[in-house]
Amino acid sequence: MPSKRKLLQTALIALIYLAVWEAVSLLVGKELLLPSPLSTLSRLVVLLTKGESWLFSGLTLLRIMSGYLLGVVSGVLLAVLTARSRFAEALLAPLRAIVKASPVTSFILLALLWLSSDMVPLFISFLMVVPMVWTATAEAILQTDSRLVEMGRMFGLGRWQIVKKIYVPSVLPQFLAACTTSLGFAWKSGVAAEIIALPQQSIGYMLYQSKLRIETVDLFAWTLMIVALSMLLEWVLIRSMRRIRHDA
């Protein structure tokens, strides 16, 4: 449990940010350019009372998290493959480099040609996560102390026992760090893909509509919703990871 002091500190920091936002908003003096925190939060409360906001947020979450989970699983499988086989590494390394170096918008536009608008955010989140998890996990596998593996073999451990007792605990810290970092990327790129692909029931669609109708307050409220969801996801992920580390 966070201490009282820590809670007070968090509240104070939030207040400082709100005060700066309010001050700048007053300075600008136009809600169209920069709405005040009060009007944004009021709009957010209105959005939260609407069933469709929850539905759209849930569907956005579903799309992005599906891509994220698929990306984590694929990243691990590719890491195992490329760490074990030099040929596989040589074969797949250019693909990884292309995905890492290409602008996300290029992939979004390409995905629009290949997939339905609902699938584009899923695909883009997947594409952002794969190289990050792949690189970190493959490096961690290669950095596993070969002397420990040798010791395990000498003491009669089979292949799966070596994976479970030596490789998994050795790789876990880097793998979990990659999962946390890539979650933020998956979330941001997934919402960006929604704004371009415009699946009808999505936060991205609502953001686009707000921009189209120049409803800046809505734009801010939906952005706040995205930030809140992202922070919630990260919190859940970090807690799960602490548990996984503890169990391992």
């Binding site: 040798e150 010791m151 395990g152 000498m154 003491f155 030596i166």
Partner: protein, 189 residues
Amino acid sequence: MMHDVILVKNLTKSFGGHTVLKNFSAEIPLCGVTVIRGASGAGKTTLFRLLLGLEKPDAGEILGMQGRKPAVVFQEDRLLPWSNALENVALGSDAARADAALSRLGLCDSMCQLPRELSGGMKRRVAIARALAYGGDIMFLDEPFTGLDEENKRIAARAMLDANVPILVITHDDAEADLFGEYCELVID
């Protein structure tokens, strides 16, 4: 076929152009204690690794190791940093044997500690306990007493002798070799 000696015939091993062992031959008795000696870099650890099958010889052969279950104390402790002392020792055996081996070496109170929480000497004793608990039919010890005080060296040597299996030990120290009582000597030069 099980031999009563390990036959090492014309063993040659090089690493990156540097020959560590050249046409080395020996008979290592599979009873009692054999102390392997030699100058630093003479190839003692390489011979160990070849006998254990961890390296392949460039030439020559080894007879008498097939089907054996060696219990090894490596030159380094090689403990799993994420596992406590008991889990490390139980790696190749079970908790009961691990508990007994750790107790024998005076580590009853440290079973739940991680390697980073143990002193150098305690880690060495955990590595020795792991070999004792494993229940091999031959023991390979590469500088097993590094970091141990005299009392713990005596306790560890006694525990190894009580395992009643052939022991091959690398040590530079005559006093450490003497802890095993009578022994054969194999010199690599």
